[in-house]
């Protein structure tokens, strides 16, 4: 490492070094590192972790998506894997299913926690207990929660929990996961139940930061509940709403565990096949790791696109 001579070094203590006419003296890189040794040491660890476990697999995936391995020989095949994946009849089915799930999740999984948070915020008593009750499903491992839905709630016979409720209300029962039409709504219901607690707590924290005077002023102006929500609550929480919408889109588009457990994979007539599940199929059942990598890269690009749009929108809002 090069050692830079610092002006004033070697002078007798107590005598200040003359300042540069252009401003404060420039500190060398080595000095900067030495001054923040602990921080940099931690930084190296973090960077190594990210490099090895996050960035390298991504780069490797991109490289693999342009290669083909046969008989242990790897060759560059350009866009072949991408063209092949685009030709896969399941490709568009998977995207259609995934977007459908995401749209439903935005309607249900995104809106419901917000309104639950508003309700919780309105309760003045037992709020702590209510928060725990709402958060409880998050503590259940996703696989356990989904098995509960699969074998207990979504049992297609009349003995199933939901069918028993529907029957007691005089409503027609459903085949749930066995019906191609009900597959996605059923997966969204289960997913919302599993994940709602976390979102509710975030919304609740955001709601409690809204100054009470705003509501008082709105009430004085004669605003009812819905107008208060529309003109005070939503504008005051718009940043957190936008952030959670983005996270919701990114998370729901990676739909995987729900099809795997609730639908045993592809579901009735491929109605549960998501993009992430299709990646799994290509990689682990079709002996096509290169195709899986190409599909993974396509998904990465789509999600990066959504994230870029989000960043642009929120930057404008700020």
């Amino acid at each position: 490492m090069a050692i830079t001579t610092v002006p004033g070094a070697g002078r007798a203590p107590g005598r200040p070094a003359p300042s540069s006419p252009a401003g404060p003296p420039r500190t060398s890189l080595g000095r900067k590192v030495r001054d923040n040794l602990t921080g940099h040491t931690f930084l190296i660890g973090a960077v190594l972790c990210f490099a090895v476990f996050s960035w390298y697999p991504m780069v490797r995936g991109v490289v693999m998506s342009f290669q083909r391995t046969r008989r242990g020989e790897t060759t560059w095949v350009g866009w072949d894997n991408y063209l092949r994946i685009l030709d896969d009849p399941s490709f568009w089915t998977a995207w259609k299913n995934t977007f459908y799930f995401t749209a439903l999740a935005l309607v249900l999984g995104y809106a419901v926690p917000f309104f639950v948070a508003i309700l919780l915020n309105e309760f003045r008593h037992a709020q702590g207990y209510l928060r725990i009750l709402v958060y409880l499903p998050v503590m259940l491992p996703p696989a356990s929660a989904l098995f509960l839905f699969k074998f207990y709630a979504y049992d297609p016979s009349d003995a199933g929990l939901f069918n028993a409720i529907l029957k007691s209300l005089g409503l027609p029962t459903s085949q749930w996961m066995q019906s191609p039409e009900m597959t996605m709504p059923a997966m969204v219901i289960a997913s919302t139940w599993m994940n709602m607690g976390g979102a509710v707590l975030i919304y609740l924290a955001s709601l409690q930061n809204i100054p009470g005077e705003l509501y008082e002023a709105a009430e004085l102006d004669g605003a009812g509940v819905w107008r208060r929500i529309r003109h005070v609550t939503i504008p005051q929480t718009r940043l957190i709403l936008a952030l959670l919408a983005m996270l919701q889109i990114v998370a729901t588009m990676q739909l995987f565990i729900e099809p795997l457990i609730l639908a045993n994979g592809a579901g009735a007539e491929d109605s549960a096949t998501s993009v992430a599940y299709l990646i799994y199929q290509h990689g682990f059942f079709q002996n096509d790791l290169n195709g899986a990598a190409a599909l993974g890269v396509i998904m990465l690009v789509v999600l990066a696109g959504f994230s870029a749009v989000y960043l642009r929108l929120t930057a404008k809002q700020d």
């Binding site: 049992d155 297609p156 019906s179 045993n264 592809a266 002996n287």
Partner: protein, 459 residues
């Protein structure tokens, strides 16, 4: 130690630990194939897990005895949990290059193993010198693991499918337990009678998820005389009258007769769980499904029997065969390959030893007397010895399998790219089992397009 010093030390320890762990990850676990004493070391997978106490004890006994007989060989056995029957896990290990020196695979895995570049040509090593019973092993099974005239694995298990049925439910439904259905129309009639018992009992149960639907579609198609791929293996060949008949039979039973139970999208464990609970009258399967029903799903051996796979109008024209074997990792030394073959020979291919040690298995309540593994050629010396030992030590009622054994159906192997094709055919199976208005023609046409595309991509 002051706080800043402590933080520095912690940071350095963290980085050092990370570095060490990364180094450890990149280090080969065992390079000592030939140690200083001249011993040859090989790693082998599929050691039973700790929870399988008796199986693990048997394995360890086998390793100890084998090493006593072959003092120049060291067996390092590895337990990889579900790897031995979990395709995704196997794929990951194969792609990551972490398979053991001698590693287990399905008969359907040959192409995948070859593509990974992990397999070694063992043609010149697999002889009666390394495997004394080699000449008795069914040549058709060796052929399954052969590509371009080169042998890549040693077969250690073989099965074929038949009709598995619950004798208790047959009796309750007024059916003859000694005369199971021989045709699909007879299966349909019997299923109606069994499901009429109520209590959520399915007269006949079938898979439609997790690749198992396509697996059984293939077997049902074979029973009609059909094939999944054309003879040259380049095109799908199930979008025809026989394929339609398979799906039509199932839709008739599911929605015409309501004899297949309410819950569908079943995969392997789901069906056997229901069977173990006495909720399934009939299904197609290999003899070892009865073993799984007993050992994993709380069923009873005496409740189950097997007949041959039914055909459409008479005897089945074919049944699906499958099985497993052991591959050898590339770049092993000749000594390691010979050592591995000797171990496989001892544990898997010697009557009276390892998997054929029926004297040991009998009191442990592992089934003895099932008509498998069908490894040895009819009339071969090894088969005679194995059959004699099996009959002498049977702990299951072999009468329950007499019909299956006495009426053999021609065995057809699994198609090329079997797992990928099975995944596609799951959709056709789930279509007729979950949608009363499913369009069978459209289901078959879509599946055909997908399979052709997979085949084109693999060519």
């Amino acid at each position: 130690m002051s706080v800043p010093q402590y933080r520095k030390a912690a940071a350095l320890a963290l980085v050092a630990g990370l570095g060490l762990s990364l180094t450890a990850c990149s280090t080969k676990s065992d390079d000592a194939s030939n140690d200083a004493s001249g011993k040859v070391t090989i790693t082998v997978d599929c050691q039973p897990v700790g929870a399988q106490k008796e199986l693990l004890q048997n394995w360890n006994e086998d390793v100890a005895e084998f090493q006593r007989q072959n003092t120049d060989i060291v067996i390092k056995s590895v337990s990889v949990g579900e790897q031995c029957n979990n395709p995704p896990d196997f794929t990951a290990r194969l792609a990551g290059g972490t398979v053991t020196d001698v590693f287990y695979g399905y008969m359907t895995d040959l192409q995948q193993v070859l593509d990974s570049g992990q397999a070694m040509d063992i043609s010149e090593f697999a002889t009666t010198e390394t495997i004394p019973t080699w000449d008795s092993v069914d040549p058709a099974l060796k052929e399954v693991f052969t590509d371009g005239g080169k042998l890549y694995a040693v077969p250690v298990k073989n099965y074929s499918m038949g009709l598995v049925y619950n004798k208790v439910l047959f009796q309750q439904a007024g059916l003859d337990v000694n005369n199971p259905p021989k045709t699909w129309p007879e299966v349909r009639d019997a299923a109606k009678k069994i499901s009429a018992l109520g209590d959520g009992i399915a007269g006949y149960a079938e898979y439609s998820a997790g690749n198992t639907g396509g697996w059984h579609f293939t077997s049902l198609l074979y029973s009609q005389g059909g094939q999944v791929l054309t003879a040259d293996g380049t095109r799908a060949d199930f979008n025809n009258a026989m394929g339609k008949q398979v799906l039509q039979n199932l839709r008739d039973m599911r929605y015409g007769d309501d004899s297949m139970g309410a819950r569908q999208l079943l995969q392997w464990g789901d069906l056997l769980t229901n069977a173990g609970a006495g909720k399934v009258g009939m299904f197609i399967g290999a003899p070892d499904t009865t073993q799984a029903i007993v050992s994993q799903f709380q069923g009873k051996f005496e409740d189950w029997a097997m007949g041959p796979l039914p055909g459409q109008d008479g005897a089945a024209k074919g049944t699906l065969g499958g099985g497993e074997g052991y591959f050898f990792k590339k770049d092993l030394t000749p000594e390691q390959v010979r050592a591995g073959l000797k171990w496989i020979a001892y544990q898997k291919l010697t009557p009276g030893k390892g998997q054929f040690d029926y004297v040991r298995a009998k009191p442990q309540n592992y089934p003895v007397g099932l008509p498998q593994p069908l490894l040895f050629t009819n009339g071969s010396e090894a088969q005679k010895q194995e059959l004699e030992l099996r009959r002498a030590n049977a702990n299951v009622d072999t009468a329950n399998f007499v019909l299956f054994e006495a009426n053999p159906v021609p065995i057809k192997g699994e198609p090329r790219n079997a797992q990928a094709i099975y995944a596609v055919l799951d959709a056709a199976m789930s279509g007729v089992l979950t949608n009363p208005n499913a369009n069978i023609d459209a289901l078959l046409k879509t599946a055909e397009e997908k399979v052709n595309q997979i085949l084109a991509a693999q060519s």
